[in-house]
Structures are given as structure tokens and as C-alpha cells.
């Protein structure tokens, strides 16, 4: 198992609707927690990276502004973006900057204040998340794209809306335990099935909520990690891949090829198999996304993902607990912050600090973070 680069600190803000502060202050919330967790000061940091979907901010080039607010001048900083998977793209770049010897300690800060712009402005941006020449002119939005994938999955494999509802019920169960989640109510199976359709076959509870939030990961070289950190969590594998943004460019809609390719790379680098994963965080921006993740990550054969949820195997105590922090469905999805929040959950699990949701003896964890409708896929494997 590679032990070259470790995560030595994690932090996360509460994920909320309508954060009552500016983006720099929101960023500080996660950053200050992660820096205290790592036990270091700004002078120890070699570089920082700001992960965000920039169209939600009036502030241009937020990395410069935020690095200043966090006290991270004159160290290098830049912004990195793959929409919803920006912060794990940042993690991969941080890994390479450390492994290459350029920097010893790198801060990866993800944030999104989705309430920063009006909801009319937000609706306008949503229409531009696809190929603006050939798809946006038809009136596309994220739920519609995932709905196309859901229908294809149903049709190819015989899965159904009921399987999706089971995934939402699980998310809601664990969201109730997570005090930093935006959605903390329980949800019944019938509620999910009977809710209004957003884009058929996806209904209201199949979709995650918007939220404001920030997350922070601090990565270090092996030498630094051993020197300053009692419980380093090692980056065993990082895989990332892309798929055509346009639906017309995809071979199949019954899975996400970018996730499959990223997983393959990450498993190979880590030298482990899906069976070795003790706990996973997957990108459940929609329920169908979690179902596809089971299969794309190899937790189930293609088309057999629904058996995992039907048999409760992705609950705590099951074969492979998935999103036991509530997932995006309960936590909310502050775009740039999401991947870092997933990583934080796994880091706490591997440090045996996950409290109510601890998977006993977890040694290897996985994060699956998707940008857009499977345009970008990042898979990270962590070990203690």
C-alpha cells in the first residue's frame, strides 16, 4: 500500500440554507477546523487550492481573495473546477504536487454559497450546465439528465423506482444523525414513491437539496505526516476520468463510464479490490446516481445494484456501508464543498472518530465524487 501522501486534517462547515456571511467567511469555517485538526499554522502550508463552481459567486477569481483571507499569502494558490467533483479534483492535484516534491503541505478548500445569487439567477445558470450549443436550447436541467439515465437503467436491467426509494429512505435515516446536514427529517418509502415528479421517473425525494457549505482537506508528504500527525490517513489510490458532456456521445446511459474508469485506476493504484472496501461515500446527487455507483464501483455486478439496497447491504452492518453520513441527499450539495465533505467522513471513519456512524475497524474507505451528469468522475481510496 502506497504511503507517500496523507490527509492530516479535515474540516467542514454546517451545510445550511442561506449562510449568513460572505464566501470568505464560509471558507474560514472549514479551514479553521481543518488547521486545528492538523495542528498547523498558515506558515506551514506550501500551497492552497480553491474548489468551486464559479458561476455562483459575484466574486471573480475567488482563490486569490480566499487565500488572502485565510492568511495563505505568499504561497501559491489557484482555483480548480469540475463542477460537483471540484474538491476531489483538487485532492488529486494536491497529491501530485506533494508526490512530485514541489510542496510538503497543501490545503484543498471547497466551498459553495448557492444562495449568493437570486433563485432566478440560479435557474438561469442551471440551463447552462449542459452543452449550450446542442442541448441547453431544448431546456435541459440536471434532474432531466439523471432521469434519462434512470430510465435507461430501468429498461436495461429491470431496476425500478422502488429501488430508488429505498436509497432515499437510507439517506434520510442517516441524515437524522448528522448535525451538519441540511435535511434531517426521516423519509418514508411511500412519501418518496408518491411525491411529485420533477423529471420522470425522478420525483422530489430522488433529488438532493442545494445548500451553502465549505470543506477543507490538508494533505502532507509522508515525512511531514509522520512528524506532525498521530493518525495520518493515506491516499492509497486516486483515479479520475471524463465522459462526453453530450448525451449523444455516450455509449450507454445505464451507468457512468467516467466513474467506472476512475474506479479502475484507483483500485489498481491502491492494489485493492471492491471487496476490500470497508466503507464508502458515493455521489448521490440523485438516488439513481447511488444505484449506478454500486455497479460502477464494483460493489455489485452491472444490473445487480438494486439487490444491495434491497438486502440492506449498504446500511451500517451490511456488506458495504454507503453514505452512512446521510449522503448528498441529506447533507445537501454545496457543489465545490461536496467532495471534501465525503473525504472528511471517510477520514473520520478511518481514524475511528465517526461516532454514531462508525464502521467498526474500518481500514480502507472509498470516495466516489461525480461532476455534472457523469462528465467528470473521481474515485479516491484511503487507508489508515
Amino acid at each position: 500500500m502506497p504511503k507517500d501522501v496523507a490527509i492530516i486534517g479535515v474540516g467542514q462547515s454546517y451545510f445550511v440554507r442561506g449562510y449568513q456571511g460572505s464566501i470568505r467567511e464560509l471558507a474560514f469555517d472549514a479551514y479553521s477546523e481543518a488547521m486545528k485538526d492538523a495542528g498547523i499554522g498558515p506558515e506551514d502550508v506550501g500551497a492552497s487550492m480553491i474548489c468551486t463552481a464559479p458561476e455562483y459567486d459575484k466574486q471573480r477569481s475567488p482563490s486569490g481573495l480566499i487565500a488572502e483571507y485565510l492568511g495563505l499569502n505568499p504561497q501559491p494558490t489557484f482555483a480548480i473546477e469540475t463542477v460537483c467533483s471540484a474538491s476531489t479534483s483538487g485532492l488529486k492535484v494536491a497529491y501530485s504536487m506533494i508526490k512530485s516534491g514541489l510542496h510538503d503541505i497543501v490545503v484543498v478548500l471547497g466551498f459553495q454559497k448557492m444562495s449568493e445569487i437570486t433563485s432566478a439567477d440560479s435557474q438561469e445558470r442551471m440551463g447552462r450546465g449542459a452543452d449550450i450549443m446542442w442541448e441547453s436550447p431544448f431546456g435541459t436541467m440536471m434532474p432531466a439528465y439523471y432521469a434519462l439515465h434512470a430510465r435507461a437503467h430501468f429498461n436495461t436491467y429491470g431496476s425500478s423506482e422502488k429501488d430508488l426509494a429505498l436509497i432515499r429512505v437510507k439517506a434520510a435515516k442517516y441524515g437524522q444523525l448528522n448535525e451538519r446536514a441540511v435535511f434531517r427529517k426521516g423519509v418514508e418509502f411511500d412519501q418518496v414513491i408518491n411525491a411529485d415528479a420533477i423529471a420522470s421517473p425522478l420525483k422530489k425525494f430522488d433529488c438532493c437539496a442545494n445548500a451553502d457549505g465549505s470543506s477543507c482537506m490538508i494533505l502532507a508528504s509522508a515525512d511531514k505526516a509522520k512528524e506532525i500527525c498521530k493518525k495520518p490517513v493515506w491516499v492509497m489510490g486516486v483515479g479520475s476520468a471524463s465522459a462526453p458532456m453530450t448525451m449523444t456521445g455516450r455509449d450507454s446511459l445505464a451507468g457512468l463510464n467516467a466513474a467506472k474508469e476512475a474506479a479502475k485506476t484507483a483500485y489498481e493504484m491502491a492494489g485493492v479490490s471492491p471487496q476490500d472496501i470497508d466503507v464508502a461515500e458515493v455521489h448521490d446527487c440523485f438516488t439513481i446516481a447511488e444505484l449506478m455507483a454500486y455497479e460502477n464501483l464494483g460493489f455489485a455486478e452491472p444490473g445487480k445494484g438494486n439487490e444491495l439496497i434491497q438486502n440492506g447491504e449498504t446500511y451500517l452492518g451490511g456488506k458495504i456501508p454507503v453514505n452512512v453520513d446521510g449522503g448528498l441527499l441529506s447533507k445537501g450539495h454545496p457543489i465545490g464543498a461536496t467532495g471534501g465533505s465525503q473525504v472528511r467522513t471517510i477520514v473520520l471513519q478511518l481514524r475511528d472518530e465517526a461516532g454514531d456512524i462508525q464502521v467498526p475497524g474500518a481500514e480502507i474507505g472509498l470516495v466516489h465524487n461525480i461532476g455534472g451528469v457523469g462528465i467528470y468522475g473521481n474515485v479516491v481510496i484511503l487507508g489508515r
Binding site: 436550447p137 431544448f138 431546456g139 435507461a152 420533477i198 420522470s200 425522478l202 448525451m247
Partner: protein, 136 residues
């Protein structure tokens, strides 16, 4: 440069593939084909990334396609509010995939994955243009 005519709301005015609009005005849905490697592109591309070439010609998309997937959309982004609900679909024309909307005349419960469809131009208000899918 012509492309701002495409769709209910258009976000791009300039493209080296804007002849698409001229063909659409003539009633044809066209993609492009690389004159070096023969690969066919829909949506049309002005460049072939396999050959690093800009030498492409226009070819017509016609005949009968098969519905790969669809969704009935009840909420829409800015500029499309008046259109909901509408059905978005992905259709396979013998290996060439086309993304668009189904005709408003098709009720959702008559729509099935695998059904046969054709694609045809559609005039929109304010001199705009698009295409839509109809039963073949």
C-alpha cells in the same frame, strides 16, 4: 452569425458549424462527416479530433430511429417556463444519436423505449428554429 436562431433559448451565436441552420431552414437535419477518416458527427462538428482536420462535409440524418431513453420534464430553467411539461429524448439513428424533444402531440403514456421515431424541423416563434421527434 446565424446560430442564435437555434432552439427556444440559444446561448451561442457564432460557430464554424452554423451551416446547420441553413440546412434546417431548408428542412434538413444535417451532421458532418470527416473527409479524411469518414467518421460521422452529430451534433455536427467543424473539426475532426481523430485527424486534427478541419475538412468536413455535411450529411443528412434521415430515416427511422429508435428511442433510447426519455424524460418528461415538469420544471424548466429560465426561458423555458412556458413550455413545461415537455419530453426530452435521446434517439439512435443507426449509430448516430440525436438529442431533442418529442413532439407535443405525443402523450407520455404512448412513449416507450425502443419505439420508432423520425426527426423533423420545427419552426418556433420569433423566427427561431429547432427539430423534434415524431412517430415514424
Amino acid at each position: 452569425m446565424g446560430f442564435e436562431k437555434f432552439g427556444v433559448v440559444s446561448f451561442t451565436a457564432q460557430t464554424r458549424a452554423s451551416d446547420f441552420i441553413d440546412y434546417l431552414e431548408k428542412g434538413e437535419i444535417r451532421g458532418t462527416k470527416c473527409n479524411l477518416c469518414g467518421r460521422v458527427f452529430f451534433p455536427p462538428r467543424a473539426d475532426c479530433s481523430w485527424c486534427m482536420s478541419k475538412d468536413v462535409e455535411w450529411i443528412e440524418i434521415k430515416g427511422q430511429g429508435t428511442l433510447i431513453s426519455f424524460t418528461k420534464v415538469n420544471y424548466a430553467p429560465t426561458g423555458f417556463e412556458g413550455d413545461v411539461p415537455y419530453i426530452l429524448a435521446l434517439v439512435d439513428f443507426d449509430g448516430i444519436k440525436v438529442f431533442g424533444r418529442l413532439s407535443k402531440d405525443l402523450p407520455e403514456d404512448s412513449v416507450k423505449v425502443g419505439m420508432a421515431l423520425k426527426v423533423t424541423p420545427l419552426a418556433l416563434p420569433e423566427d427561431k428554429l429547432t427539430y423534434e421527434f415524431l412517430p415514424a
